[in-house]
């Protein structure tokens, strides 16, 4: 069993195909169902940001982008979808936090982590840039200034 497991590990590492967007439906803050595949299938660039109210680097990143978001949207028509992975303990904090911080993002709720699990996301924050249903860029973790690099990716793909 152990050896087979190792074999599969090696095999995994040798793979490098882009993954697809899973067919998951999440609720927005108005309790309406939103299909992730439909959202991703757009000619405009979508940034999916997985976050939680208790994750300090996630808040840092979304705060940093909020400062320049208007500019980004004017220039590239990009949209950021902030997917809260908060569970029942902290979910109640999502609406007041988003409004209190004056974020203009589309917010979706993944409270039992169906989408997070389907995409094999283990660490927050997690950024995924999508165009026409294809994932063009991903990043795990946030360090200050990473949003500038993210915007370079958005601009590059907006031109295509």
């Amino acid at each position: 069993m152990k050896r087979t497991f190792l074999l599969i590990l090696l095999f995994t590492i040798s793979l490098s195909y882009a993954q697809d967007i899973p067919n998951v439906i999440l609720k927005n803050l108005e309790n309406e169902s939103v299909s992730i595949q439909k959202l991703a299938n757009s000619n405009d660039i979508k940034i999916f940001s997985f976050w939680a109210t208790w994750c300090v680097p996630c808040i840092n990143e979304l705060d940093a982008i909020a400062d320049v978001y208007e500019e980004w949207q004017d220039e590239t028509n990009v949209e950021l979808i902030a997917i809260s992975t908060d569970d029942a303990r902290t979910k109640k904090r999502v609406i007041p936090l988003v409004n209190g911080k004056d974020w203009e993002y589309q917010i979706l709720i993944d409270d039992n982590q169906d989408l997070k699990r389907a995409l094999n996301i283990n660490v927050l924050p997690y950024i995924m840039v999508v165009k026409n249903g294809e994932i063009v860029h991903t990043r795990t973790g946030y360090t200050p200034g990473s949003e500038d690099e993210l915007y370079e990716v958005v601009k590059e793909n907006a031109k295509l």
């Binding site: 195909y17 993954q19 309790n31 569970d87 409004n99 039992n112 389907a118 360090t143 200050p144 990473s146």
Partner: protein, 560 residues
């Protein structure tokens, strides 16, 4: 073994197939390694759960494959490996290498069907929640079948049956569930408001060992929910009731101590641009609900059917996580001085954004977050000798915990950001930890954090200072972190916390850690060396105790 080879052949043949086919495959790999060392100050390495002092190097690995096919189908397999033994303080039930999760799912607009393992949640989870958290060593998926049917726009029905996963086995009981979600705003065409109702049933059927027990094999739980939103205002309520269930004290079923349970959760909030407020009240009475009765309150968080997390703010700094509240949902009759039947309390959150251009807001605005929570035991008469209690519905008994915190975030200019954090806590060690000689600890904690960006894109340093004062001679902590981010991909950190108080287990030990991490796309590798304080590790609302340990750890995450 044969299954594995088949799987491998399946994967390899996929490799040969067209890229189109491979587009439908998602892979996730997580591997966490630890090399435990003997420590001159805190003693030699020893794993009490497995009674082992030899296996210093351990690796927990998870490989998950999801394959989408024929438009509506997804097959999922998760292989898990804990070799040669699981990391410290994981349940000994996680042993060896095996299939952890396997499932086949069908999904169309109106119908969803799953066979194999699945994760489900009804309402907020107070009646049922199955989920996975690898850091906590928690996976309580159900193994069986589930159907979701949405016959109309406003109606969703779920029916499920399963046995709960415990380690690589399943619990010795059957779980049945049924759920209805009704969207009334869709029926009545409300324009600006929404009204949702929910009803659930969860049954646990576990055959009792004793001959003529005072409780039924089948325990039933029912829940009703209402959710209302109008413009900037929202309110919701959830009530759960559980039929007669036997009390479990120190792993023993107490046959002449049988009571029903119930839970009430109320939540309301209001928010607008730049301002948000939220208030929650919850009362739990005898709401421990496990797929095997005698596992009630087990430290590995196994066999949990429902989810009753502590409703307090989850702090993110080392010293703010020394005294962590855990929800007291169960009946505890440990001693005539230590009797509990549940908890009552609540919390309030406030978020406020001081506008740009005002004197307090400055050029970039100032962001405030405030939280206060208070939790107590249920007020009433407890009779230790006759094993009974009679509690008031809205009475507050002995205080268990309180926490007041304020966070101020300030951007000074394009290069410098700061966070200031203040926490005041009350922690009733005796009741929260069921520790007879526990203290009543009051603390004040301050944290200051500054980030300075310089040079090329993504280069920055982060400095963090922490201090904890308490009324107890045992706890007087100080701590700090220095982090250097070389680029968005590479960063290094070092941190240390130190207790100059007299607490016998932590006094005058440096709990230091240093390490780094490298990210590229969906791959992340991190390396860390240090001494871990014994205490609670908390992730997303649940905490688990981990022992003191010193050593090297590494982690690899990948997904394709």
């Amino acid at each position: 073994m044969r299954k594995l080879i088949l799987l491998l052949i399946f994967c390899l043949s996929l490799n040969q197939a067209s890229a189109q086919l491979l587009d439908n495959l998602r892979l996730g790999l997580e591997s966490n390694m630890a090399w435990y060392n003997d420590d001159k100050r805190t003693g030699a390495f020893f794993d009490e759960e497995n009674n082992d002092g030899d296996e210093h190097v351990r690796v927990n690995s998870y490989l998950k494959l999801d394959y989408d096919f024929l438009k509506n189908f997804t097959a999922t397999v998760q292989i898990e490996s804990y070799e040669p033994l699981a990391l410290l303080n994981y349940s000994p039930n996680f042993e060896g290498t095996n299939f952890g999760i396997y499932s086949l799912n069908y999904k169309s607009n109106k119908l969803e069907a799953s066979a194999g393992h699945y994760y489900e949640q009804f309402g907020s989870g107070m009646i049922l929640r199955n989920w996975e958290d690898r850091q906590l060593g928690l996976n309580n998926a159900l193994l069986g079948g589930r159907m979701k049917y949405m016959p109309l726009d406003f109606l969703a029905l779920t029916a499920l049956y399963g046995k709960q996963r415990v380690g690589f086995e399943t619990a010795d009981s059957d779980i049945f569930g049924f759920n209805t979600e009704l969207d009334l705003s869709n029926i009545f065409n409300f324009e600006n408001s929404s009204l949702n109702l929910g009803f659930s049933y969860v049954g646990r059927n576990e055959t009792a060992d004793s001959e003529d027990p005072n409780f039924d094999d089948l325990t039933n739980a029912f829940s009703g929910r209402i959710d209302f939103t109008e413009g900037n205002f929202y309110a919701n309520a959830e009530y759960v009731t559980k039929t007669d269930d036997v009390a479990v004290i120190a792993g023993q079923l107490i046959d002449n101590f049988v009571n029903p349970g119930n839970a009430l959760l109320l939540n309301t909030g209001f928010s607008q641009k730049g301002f948000g407020i939220d208030a929650t009240f919850r009362r739990l009475e005898n709401m421990g609900f496990y797929s095997e009765r005698e596992k009630t309150g087990n430290v590995f968080l196994e066999n949990n059917i429902n989810f009753t997390p502590a409703l307090t703010k989850q702090h993110d700094y080392l010293l703010t996580n020394i005294f962590v509240y855990q929800a007291q949902s169960q009946v505890v009759f440990a001693d005539p001085q230590l009797m509990e039947a549940g908890e009552i309390g609540g919390q309030v959150d406030l978020f406020y954004n001081i506008k740009k251009g005002t004197s307090l807001g400055g050029k970039y605005g100032t962001k405030l977050a405030f939280n206060a929570s208070y939790w107590a035991g249920l007020k009433g008469d407890y009779d230790y000798n006759n094993l009974s209690y009679d509690v008031d519905y809205f009475g507050f008994g002995e205080k268990y915990f309180s926490d007041i915190s304020l966070e101020i975030r300030k951007k000074w200019n394009k290069k410098v950001n700061s966070i200031f954090y203040y926490v005041n806590q009350y922690y009733n060690q005796r009741t929260i930890e069921d520790n007879f000689s526990g203290e009543q600890i009051k603390t004040n904690i301050v944290v200051g954090e500054t980030i300075y960006k310089f040079g090329r894109i993504g280069q920055s340093v982060r400095l963090e200072f922490q201090k904890l004062w308490s009324n107890s001679d045992n706890h007087d902590w100080i701590g700090g972190t220095f982090e250097y981010n070389v680029s968005p991909r590479l960063s290094f950190y070092v941190n240390d916390i130190y207790n100059s108080g007299m607490d016998s287990s932590t006094s005058e030990n440096h709990y230091y850690n240093f390490g780094g991490s490298y990210n590229k796309g969906t791959t992340r590798f991190s390396l860390n060396y240090g001494r871990q304080r014994a205490g609670l590790v908390c992730v997303g609302g649940v905490c688990r105790f981990v022992p003191e340990a010193t050593g090297l750890s590494a982690s690899l995450l990948m997904s394709f």
